[in-house]
């Protein structure tokens, strides 16, 4: 048992897999010598050498192309896109190439690759460096989409992603990098597509992801003190999506809320709500409420950013209001 930051857990998880599998390599901008601009790959160059940990030019298409071509020819590469906003400069590689190649080739080509990226807001980086874009990936068939919320999940889900034979986008929340928690010693391998019940509850189900998980949990505590007992689910991956756990919880609580950092329209919560009103309709005792960032770009000023990203207060208030009406 060691206490580890979410940030260090990233390198820890990658190292665990590089240790056991020669085919695992890492490429990205400033990931080697500098240990990553977010310090999520510190020590890997020193430990695994310059053949396996590689600094690249500023060329995201070239990075992901290298990752994809290596994956189809025997390696299990991990690529880094520094900020997830930058997926927009290489989206063709992700959405049109990686996601579709196995299908188009009728299974001839496997793409065991991971693209890790710093995602999300609260660091005052403004509209082009703060987005939560998991929903961009969820909308494209052929991509697996992972977002851990704790250090131990970072390690276990990174291992699972690297061992997965499909392309996985691994979203690290920049606002969680500094958070700490205990991480068991020895190898940790988790499973993609399993949500976790972070807090059991009977009155309402709150589904959250990434930074919104700790906020939903704190909100749940406040709500408990006001007599509302919420169950908080951490989705952990959007694809595969653990529909079973969500619907089971809904069947017990009869009320459903999502807490999303992404802008409102077609955030991942829209899919959860749409599934609920289809497959879970007869369980619903009231509207499904999505608590999201409004449909605006993210402002840079701290006072404004704090206003738009769902806060503990807002989550608690919105849930309480909905439960009372």
């Amino acid at each position: 048992m060691a206490v580890m930051t979410y940030r260090d857990a990233v390198a820890h998880g990658i190292a665990q897999e590089m240790e056991r599998d020669e085919r695992v390599v890492l490429v990205g901008e400033d990931v080697a010598g500098a240990g990553g601009v977010f310090k999520t790959t510190v020590g890997l160059l020193e430990r695994f050498g310059p053949k396996r940990v590689i600094d690249t030019p500023i060329a995201e298409q070239a990075i992901l192309g290298a990752v994809m071509g290596a994956a189809m020819t025997g390696l299990r590469p991990v690529g880094e896109i520094m900020f997830s906003d930058f997926f927009a400069v290489c989206w063709d590689l992700v959405a049109n190439q990686m996601a579709k190649t196995r299908y188009m080739t009728n299974g001839q080509v496997s793409l065991p690759l991971v693209v890790k990226s710093g995602n999300g807001g609260t660091l005052r980086f403004g509209a082009q460096h703060s987005q939560s874009v998991e929903n961009w990936a969820m909308a494209v068939p052929g991509l697996k989409v992972v977002t851990p919320s704790t250090p131990v999940d970072v390690v276990g889900l990174m291992a699972a992603a690297i061992r997965c034979d499909d392309p996985v986008l691994f979203f690290e929340h920049k606002g969680l990098y500094a958070t700490k928690d205990e991480v068991p010693d020895g190898p940790i391998v988790d499973e993609l597509g399993k949500a976790r019940i972070r807090r059991p509850g009977t009155d309402a189900t709150i589904v959250a992801l990434g930074l919104m998980v700790p906020r939903a949990l704190k909100a749940a505590e406040r709500l408990a003190s006001r007599g509302i007992d919420c169950e908080v689910l951490d989705l952990r991956s959007l694809v595969p999506l653990d529909v079973t756990t969500v619907l089971e919880s809904l069947s017990r609580t009869s009320r459903l809320f999502t807490v999303e950092e992404n802008p409102r329209l077609l955030g991942w919560g829209a899919e959860i709500a749409a599934i609920a009103v289809d497959e879970g309709f007869w369980h619903l005792d009231g509207p499904v409420i999505r608590i999201t960032t409004p449909h605006v770009p993210l402002p840079s000023a701290d006072s404004l950013e704090d206003l738009v990203i769902p806060s503990i207060e807002r989550i608690a208030e919105d849930v309480e209001r909905a439960m009372q009406s």
């Binding site: 192309g65 189809m72 590689l93 080739t105």
Partner: protein
């Protein structure tokens, strides 16, 4: 602001003439058996593409398709020079490169027809031909990406120490997109064993490359920007392509890094089936038809004393093969409906939920 279409009407740009140098490689050192193999390949590609065209006209091939008629020497020359485990990366104009690596005609034709015996079971189509067992790592239909993907295969070959080289084919128009630049710099920085082959057929879809490119030679004039030497080759002379390929492959295999080759050629037909063709200046097509790669090569073999009868025999054997492939493709069953839902994931399925 100078606008190309202000300086000349559409389709009235300067004609680019072929090299018209059919004897250039008569004495070059290419073994006769290799030359005869290439002659067969040239005809396989030519006759296959003509058949594909006919099947379009019969509405049997749906969607779109991009033929290599007139460009066969490049595919034949490079594929013949490649090691059997080298990697080919092609574009939507990939029939020729796929066949030249030995992929059966039936599988390719059946894929164009959307049948279950198609190379991709009907799921990929004409623009995405792939046969991993033949080293054909894919045909990519969105311009640019596959240059960067070829880098990845080259990187993996280096890492594994396999000695394989990745060969990536693309068009003149592709040299103006960002991914070209990223791929070339990246390959040069890491000295990747990759050979980039620009098939310069003078046009993108319906626009002359000269109208929208800042330099005369879209690939060769960019080589220096990546610390590479400009390499130009007569893309209608199979020997020229073969020799250029041998040299480039050897260089890349030796660890000396990437090579960028510009092969000058011409597309006899339209860009794709819907092509109006208004963009070619008068006389240009005729000049290139006269320098047809198959004519050039047959002439050389005859000058080298190969019996016309032997060449005719090769052509008719190929014709029979194309007919047989056509029948087999036409007789292929439609894909199993269930196949629409397979192979999204490595587990064989398409489920997104758990």
């Amino acid at each position: 602001m100078t606008l190309p279409l202000e300086t000349h009407p559409y389709g009235e740009h300067d004609v680019v003439m072929p090299p018209n140098n059919p004897t250039a490689h008569d004495q070059s050192d290419v073994p006769l058996d290799v030359r005869l193999r290439m002659y067969r390949v040239l005809h396989e590609l030519r006759q296959f593409e003509k058949r594909a065209y006919d099947l379009f006209m019969q509405q049997l091939v749906k969607g779109t398709s991009h033929l290599s008629l007139g460009m066969e020497a490049i595919a034949a020359g490079f594929a013949t020079a490649m090691r059997s485990d080298d990697y080919t990366f092609a574009t939507y104009r990939g029939h020729a490169h796929t066949l030249a690596r030995g992929v059966p005609m039936e599988a390719v034709l059946a894929e164009l027809l959307g049948r279950s015996n198609g190379l991709l079971g009907g799921k990929g189509g004409s623009m995405h031909l792939t046969s991993v067992e033949h080293g054909v790592m894919g045909s990519y239909a969105i311009i640019g990406a596959h240059l960067t993907i070829a880098n990845g295969a080259a990187w993996s070959a280096q890492y594994r120490g396999s000695g394989q080289v990745a060969v990536c084919f693309f068009g003149d128009g592709t040299t103006n997109i960002g991914a070209f630049h990223e791929a070339l710099n990246y390959a040069a920085v890491f000295a990747l064993p990759v050979v980039f082959v620009c098939e310069n057929n003078l046009y993108m879809e319906y626009t002359a490359i000269s109208d929208i490119t800042a330099v005369r030679r879209p690939a060769a004039d960019r080589a220096a920007a990546y610390g590479l030497d400009p390499v130009e080759v007569d893309g209608n002379d199979a020997d020229a392509c073969y020799l250029a390929a041998e040299e480039a492959l050897a260089r890349a295999r030796s660890g000396a890094g990437p090579v960028l080759i510009e092969a000058l050629t011409y597309r006899h037909g339209g860009h794709s089936r819907a092509d109006p063709g208004k963009y070619k200046p008068p006389g240009e097509l005729e000049a290139w038809l006269a320098y047809d790669p198959l004519k050039v090569y047959r002439g050389r073999l005859e000058r080298l004393g190969v019996e016309a009868a032997q060449l005719d025999r090769i052509e008719s054997e190929v014709a029979q093969a194309v007919d047989a492939a056509t029948d087999a493709a036409k007789n292929g069953a439609l894909p199993d409906p269930a196949s629409a839902f397979t192979e999204v994931w490595a587990d064989g399925g398409s489920s997104w939920r758990s």
